[in-house]
């Protein structure tokens, strides 16, 4: 599946929810499913300190593809991280670096990526892209 197809798949998944709470229920489930990073990997260099929640991001390049693992102390943040990882993992550095993550806006979660939300997600996406630029 291409990056764009993965985005569309998520948009379709969310299209069935017209109530905010249902949408969040789903995000929370995704958050609970996302594997937790072990504590020894939650080092300060991987920490993105948001005012509201904290995010840990681990980046690797395997066989020319980006590989991200991440975690957060807040479950909603974690659920959104899960979506981002699903879209960006296994893509080439170039694709990640130039990606337009339009699904976030389309499913109505763009507020979470605004820097003023201070949940660490905006910085996380920036870091993901920067690491892709560095790898390309």
């Amino acid at each position: 599946m291409t990056l764009e197809e993965k985005q569309q798949e998520i948009i379709d998944e969310f299209a069935i929810y017209d109530d905010w709470m249902d949408k969040y229920e789903y995000i929370i489930e995704l958050g609970k499913e996302l594997p937790i990073i072990s504590d020894e990997n939650k080092t300060d260099d991987k920490l993105i300190e948001g005012c509201q929640s904290r995010v840990w991001l681990n980046t690797a390049v395997e066989d020319g593809k980006m590989s991200f693992t991440a975690d957060s102390d807040a479950i909603i943040t974690k659920g959104i991280i899960g979506l981002l990882i699903r879209v960006l993992n296994d893509e080439t550095p170039k694709e990640v670096a130039t990606s337009d993550l339009r699904f976030i806006k389309e499913i109505g979660l763009h507020e979470h990526l605004s820097p003023t939300r201070s949940n660490g997600l905006a910085s996380m996406v920036k870091k993901m892209k920067l690491s892709a630029i560095a790898a390309s």
Binding site: W20, M21, Y24, E25, I28, C51, Q52, S53, R54, D73, A74, I75, I76, T77, N119
Partner: protein
């Protein structure tokens, strides 16, 4: 007016009509606004006053002979008198307009701080807002003063025995909050003021969370400085007050230089204007000052005792209901509290709970509330804080409790 003990019964539904924002919808639900500690909503009267000022009376103050300038000046100075009366300051020139509490505290730190020297001591408390911590740290760095901190107990009360130990003849200033924005604790400021004066120090009271809840009389308190923000007392943003005793303000050097604060300027020597202008350089927030006067007038028409009783009841009701949830802990259980309820739930991040409440139309604050050292003390990342104003109701708390229940079921 409630001046002679004949009080009009406190009627929340009538009062709510004065606040247009309370009647809007958020995320498809009726807004429940429980973030009054961050800022209050504004009565229509204040909103109208802002429009009226810019529609009818706009002019610069203290500088024109023309009609509008005179009018704006009179309104601005009248607002100062309204505030003076409200906090019972002896003189109107002891009421300085600032940008807000933060600006008021910085004014004292910069200006009074100029008179401090190495080894002088400043005392704050463990529950201060960052705006009553950082200006003093900056001053200590600049002047080589020492910053001391009054510790708190688990309930979130100042440990007054420890305070006694911190006071020394070197204590120049004690700067503490009247009411904690995070915990709701009402501090024993009368005792703090008296004891500090006994060792010859000054006292600044951060009143950002108090004027809107309890009667403040700066003469009865005998505090040297008292700071608050208009936006938390139903007035506009960008304006606030610093009350200071005249004899101290007179000794203090100016804060900022510019227009309005001077008596005469030559390149050789400039002399400064009298109080309050000495501390009000440049064109101020004229409409803000005037409309703060409007807000304070509105507030003084209400029965503050009835307000306090209503708000206390709201907080008690909310705490009772909240404590029925398993694993929920109230942060801040002081004996003397205002209508602030901060809490955490085992295994639930405040950000998640706040996000889900928002989606149900409920505005609460989550996070550290600009009191990071306090969060460190309790070893928590933050809290969810519901802070009530007199226009809130028990019915809103019921909606809130229901929303908390629904959210916790999703998160746990």
């Amino acid at each position: 007016m409630i001046t002679d003990g004949i009080s009009i019964p406190f009627d929340v539904s009538r009062i709510r009509k004065d606040f247009p924002t309370l009647h809007r919808q958020v995320n498809g639900r009726e807004l429940v606004y429980f973030d009054n500690g961050a800022t209050s909503q504004k009565p229509q009267l204040v909103i109208d006053a802002i429009t009226e000022y810019y529609t009818e009376n706009n002019a610069n103050i203290h500088r024109g002979v023309h009609y509008l300038s005179q009018l704006a000046t009179t309104q601005y100075e009248d607002a100062r008198k309204i505030i003076q009366n409200y906090i019972n300051a002896p003189l109107s020139e002891e009421v300085l307009f600032t940008k807000g509490t933060t600006d008021s505290i910085n004014l004292v730190a910069s200006s009074l701080g100029e008179l401090f020297s190495e080894g002088d001591e400043i005392i704050i408390s463990a529950m201060e807002h960052h705006s009553n911590i950082v200006p003093w740290q900056m001053l200590c760095e600049r002047k080589g003063c020492t910053l001391k901190v009054i510790p708190i107990n688990e309930a979130g009360e100042l440990m007054m025995n420890e305070f006694d130990q911190l006071l020394t003849p070197k204590t120049k200033l004690v700067s503490v909050t009247h009411i904690s924005n995070t915990l709701g604790t009402i501090n024993p400021i009368e005792e703090i003021i008296k004891k500090t004066h006994d060792v010859g120090g000054y006292v600044l009271i951060d009143g950002a969370q108090s004027v809107q809840h309890i009667k403040v009389d700066v003469q009865a308190l005998d505090c040297d400085f008292f700071a608050f923000s208009a936006h938390k007392v139903f007035g506009p943003t960008g304006v606030g007050v610093l009350y200071g005793k005249k004899e101290i303000l007179d000794q203090m050097p100016p804060y900022q230089g510019g227009g309005d604060m001077i008596a005469k300027v030559t390149f050789e020597k400039t002399t400064y204007n009298e109080l309050p202008h000495k501390f009000e350089a440049g064109t101020p927030n004229i409409s803000g000052g005037i409309c703060l006067g409007t807000a304070i007038s509105y507030l003084s028409e209400l029965d503050l005792n009835a307000i306090q009783a209503h708000e206390t009841e709201l907080a008690k009701y909310a705490e009772e209901k909240l404590l029925q949830f398993e694993g929920l802990r109230i942060i801040g259980t002081a004996e003397h509290k205002t209508s602030v309820v901060s809490f955490i739930v085992d295994g639930v991040h405040p950000f998640d709970l706040g996000t889900l409440l928002d989606k149900q139309g409920i505005a609460v604050r989550t996070g550290h509330h600009c009191t990071q050292p306090l969060m460190d003390f309790y070893q928590i990342p933050g809290t969810v804080r519901a802070s009530f104003a007199f226009y809130n109701t028990k019915e809103e708390i019921d909606v809130f409790i229901h929303a908390v229940e629904r959210s916790l079921n999703m998160l746990k």
